[in-house]
Symmetry: C2
Subunit: 361 residues, 2 copies
DNA sequence: AAGAAGTCGTGAACCGCTTCACTGATACGT
DNA sequence: ACGTATCAGTGAAGCGGTTCACGACTTCTT
């Protein structure tokens, strides 16, 4: 009966009684076409149309008839109503630990595209490297009823991940979340990278290498140290591990200090390109040439790394592979509740001109 | 009565009849706390609680009582239900013409943060420089019921903006959308930048300047050409306008051609830093030094521009100002339906070391 | 004292879709 | 010919809020 008044009152209202209101009607955002409209038009019930639009149950002929009317009327399902009714929003949260980092921007953008193709909408959110903010944003996204949350965690060991996993599908990129029941994990094999980098440098003759790793939240164990020392021992070289901020400026200061110290290294391996930029800045300041006086190796392969003088050798992630497998696993976890096995990604070397043999002393 | 069965059937079900099902109950994502729960707890009606939670109508004492219970129960309003009922989703679409460009990434990330502060969720979407995709994504966002759409348009003159504006609040950044009733526009005064750049270069003695502008969709009028020529005439210098792709590689090729041509310019003004990188690449290839042999001036001030050799002089946008005013205007348009006047933003010069006087010939 | 004008709060409709339980009708097996 | 499946489709109950119209109870006017 509501529809009755709807349908009949409007033209009456507008043409005959008060034309002034008619203008309002026109200027208003137009009314949506709803399932009701299609139901009325086809003479079917609301439920039948709902099923038909989703290709369920009904015979092909009916589905086609409904589809046709829907097209003619320009029907677009209201995702909000659908979400409320079905319990699935179609939203997937993408919580980036630090979207300031270019590699995260790249992944986030690619995830946005990939999810869109899988008919989901990404909600990209940035924790700006603040663990407390990360926790609160995660909770906020869960409250927003995302179907899944994909994270590039700042602190994989943080408590909040466990709570998120209890409330939604949780997928982690980069690091595994220890003790959390994630639906999928695509992790970076940093150990393989460190190994490859040190080996490469050792082969060129470097015997004293500085490894710069981003200052992360303290974790129970610090695997990086162990790994670096073991590998160095195996290669018979010296490798020192230094923590440094992700950002250029911070890394610049750290690098300057290292280079000014006693027995400076002949090569840097930086676990982020942005830190390698900082090393470049330090070399410029100290009048050192890359790679003659100092070899520098990055990690991320930012698009600009190829532009520096000299172009920075680096490692890059197979982003398309990463994103497609994350999206696929996430969607499967949402739709079928199936958890996937952990997937380990090995980076691809991108040699350029910032690495060479050490100066003979 | 539904609540009755809810409350009573579950323990019965689980403990007595089939314990197996109970486990399922436990492992399930826990049930949300709803307004109903608070209503039951306080003895108030649903409507009263709804009002109270939003600080409406009711006396302070009641509101506090409700708030207290809500806190105790850990109530979080369901944004989906709220959206369906109120017609406002709290989502704001951010449609970036080409999120590959760093300046757009910066703005998008900042908008995400700013909107979050205004308790809205940004839906960031990338048209990858494809006008057709831009149109379809815009429609998709509108169908998703965003409260507003903020765009960084590829083609401001495109037809689809008009349709979007009819269906939602439309805000444009960068360019004005001719003939479209936008709720707000924060536009870049590119003319001022070009003028400033040419003046600066002319003052240093440059008499032959190449201006590189991104290849955009053909618009009815090409104001850039007119502007450049007028300004050049005023300054008594020669300035040639070249279109080039946004990306490094494309710009590289264009710059190489220009520099290899007859009567090459002594300075480049690039309307995007990424294009300036291409010019740098061309100079390296041709053995030219910056700024001694060629001055280069960029536009955007990417974070990496300061890292090049030599650091690139550029212009940057006051991003915080841009974002805060866009967010403010957008929110006002959503909440109060008020359209704002166009705001024009003038970029800030960021001088570094890529500009100098021309070599005396 | 009687009506007017608030306060505080309630019941019910509604947003647009999904989904469950169920009905009639037709086809099937024997 | 009779009971049983299967098919095509329906009615109504949600989902979790918002909002409108209205009622009971105080308080203020005059």
């Amino acid at each position: 009966m509501n529809r009755f008044t709807d349908t009949f009152s409007e033209p009456l209202h507008c043409d005959a009684v008060k034309p002034a209101v008619y203008c309002q009607c026109v200027s208003q955002k137009q009314r949506r076409v709803t399932l009701r409209d299609i139901a009325d038009e086809t003479g079917l019930s609301l439920a039948a149309v709902s099923y038909a639009m989703r290709g369920l149950q009904l015979p092909l002929e009916t589905r086609q008839r409904v589809q046709e009317v829907a097209d003619r009327l320009g029907y677009q399902a209201d995702p909000i109503a659908r979400a409320l009714a079905s319990g699935r929003t179609g939203y997937v949260g993408v919580l980036c630990g630090s979207l300031g980092d270019l590699w995260q921007q790249g992944i986030a953008a690619a995830l946005g595209r990939g999810l869109l193709q899988a008919s989901r909408q990404a909600l990209i959110v940035d924790a700006s490297n603040d663990p407390a903010l990360e926790a609160s944003l995660a909770a906020q996204l869960v409250d927003q009823r995302v179907d899944a949350l994909i994270c590039l965690p700042i602190d994989p060991a943080a408590e909040h991940w466990r709570q998120v996993a209890e409330r939604t599908v949780l997928v982690s990129i980069g690091d595994a979340l220890p003790g959390v029941s994630t639906a999928a994990e695509v992790v970076f094999d940093n150990e393989a990278t460190v190994s490859s980098a040190l080996e490469q440098l050792a082969r060129l003759g470097h015997r004293n290498i500085a490894v710069l790793t981003p200052a992360t939240i303290a974790t129970p164990d610090r695997p990086a140290e162990v790994v670096v020392h073991r590998l160095a021992a195996e290669l018979g070289i010296r490798a020192t591990l230094h923590t440094s901020p992700y950002e250029l400026d911070g890394a610049h200061a750290v690098a300057r200090e290292i280079l000014a110290g006693a027995d400076p290294p002949t090569a840097f391996f930086c676990l982020a390109d942005s830190m390698a930029y900082g090393v470049y800045a330090a070399t410029r300041e100290l009048g050192l040439r890359v790679p003659e006086d100092l070899s520098v190796l990055g990690y991320d392969d930012n698009p600009v790394s190829g532009l520096l003088t000299p172009p920075l050798s680096s490692y890059r992630w197979p982003i398309e592979l990463l994103v497609s497998s994350v999206v696929e696993r996430t969607v499967r976890a949402i739709d079928e509740g199936k958890h996937s096995r952990r997937k380990v990604l090995v980076p691809i070397a991108q040699p350029r001109q910032s690495v060479g043999p050490p100066k003979s002393r």
